[in-house]
Symmetry: C2
Subunit: 252 residues, 2 copies
DNA sequence: GCGATGCCTTGACAGGCATCAATGCCCCCG
DNA sequence: CGGGGGCATTGATGCCTGTCAAGGCATCGC
């Protein structure tokens, strides 16, 4: 027990330092194993806003973890139009889609000044081979990436613009709160155009929706600053909404 | 060389019998390794049309490979609306999204009479641990699932309905042809409503688009029978289209 | 063989969202 | 401090596509 607890603390310390907790935190691995993992991780210097971590088509060698600052990843259609795949907050992985063909399937672009940890994938596979729990965790993480995209597909294909925006706001709220920030007041790391692109909408529509939410007393928006005034109502908008009932006291 | 060639034949035979080639074909694994893999695979009896392979929320224990017949997988929104994630033709995998939470994130429904191979995932992980090449292949396959969904996201978010349909038809064409069927004449395994759902459209829109393609001389459609008359033009519709140029001789 | 059911097609219509355009704001930079 | 560019908001307009409705056509079951 004490050893376990000590190991865990070691992990938390090790990962806390580079926000790699998605990869190693849930594991019951020993300190020496962690050392193994730590050895292969590169910590990069801060990258300014508007730079590429990698581009679609670049040879795939590493996966990345945002350490501080937000990143967007996106693919480009042959006609040049872009689709944002996701926003990556500190602690979140990116780059796992490059394994298929050995080249990145999406590009990653910094939304603000960003620090990342880079994990060479072949080395990670080696280490994972020695640590079954890490192996399993790696598979789980890939599976989660699949699930995440499936949810987004559902959103783009079947949900109203209103609901899509509500879901995104809730997702950001939850993720910020998990990282120790306020769940109700935060700064959007991305531009309106990025939000619109991600949600499959026009920037103007996002603007109008935000206004509508504001007029309804659900949000207070000032530029990129968001204050969620009525979280239950926002949840209702994201979920059970459909008929225009003002939503009962909210429990679902 | 002769041993290699012999091994490869062994693999092909083994996989041919259950269409598992996506999992093992590209591997340089020995006959005994294949035996290991073969041992854990269950071959199911044929399943009639309209049955569930698994449902969203079911405990995740296995991944599946369609052996014959087509399957659709889809998720359900809280309000009951469905989003089809993908169609799975013989030889194609499904179920890889269940690992995250230990329950399937999507449901799988047979579109016609279907035979599947079932591969218990924990056993697969065991075997993979003993065969590094298989391990790598497993990760690659998951990565490909991610990539596939990213492409679909691009389609749903940024492409015109016309292009979405063209892309789907091309995809089916390619996949049928890879399986030894005609690339230009085939039967759609799914209903119009399924196509529409998958593409984020109304069934009527799909109908109208098919008619438009037909009037343009690109397709001949009769119920579920499709005959691609002008493959280059269909490619143009799927890709470079955008301006209404009748598309030059087509090379892209 | 006949009715019923589901699927597909076609038409009419309205509404929502994209598009275009103009203005304002803020921040960066000169 | 003043100019410029990017970003955000707001308004006007129109098209596309979803929705509703009806009809045709196969297949299946009785």
């Amino acid at each position: 027990m004490s050893t376990d607890s000590f190991s865990l603390r070691g992990i938390q310390r090790a990962c806390r330092s580079c926000s790699l907790h998605e990869l190693c935190l849930p594991l019951g691995v020993s300190d020496t194993d962690i050392d193994l993992l730590e050895k292969i991780v590169h910590r990069s210097r801060p990258l300014p806003r508007g730079k590429f971590l990698f581009r679609e088509g670049d040879p795939f060698t590493s996966i990345f973890v945002a350490r501080s600052g937000a990143v967007k990843s996106f693919t480009v259609a042959p006609d040049g139009s872009e689709q944002i795949i996701g926003f990556h907050l500190p602690g979140e992985l990116l780059g796992l889609d490059g394994l298929t063909e050995g080249v990145h399937a999406a590009s990653a672009h910094t939304l603000e000044t960003v620090s990342v940890c880079e994990v060479p994938f072949d080395r990670l596979e080696d280490v994972a081979r020695q640590i079954p729990a890490l192996q399993h965790q790696l598979l789980r993480l890939m599976s989660r990436e699949i699930t995440r995209r499936e949810e987004q597909l559902l959103s783009l294909g079947k949900q109203s613009p209103e609901r899509r925006l509500a879901v995104l706001l809730l997702s950001l709220s939850m993720r910020f709160s998990q990282r120790g920030y306020s769940a109700t007041r935060f700064l959007l790391p991305m531009a309106r155009l990025d939000i619109a692109n991600f949600l499959g909408l026009a920037a103007e529509t996002v603007s109008r929706l935000l206004r509508r939410f504001q007029d309804a007393g659900v949000l207070a928006v000032d530029g990129r600053a968001v204050d969620i005034l009525d979280l239950p109502e926002l949840r209702a908008l994201a979920g059970a909404e459909g008929s225009e009932e003002p939503a009962p006291p909210s429990c679902a």
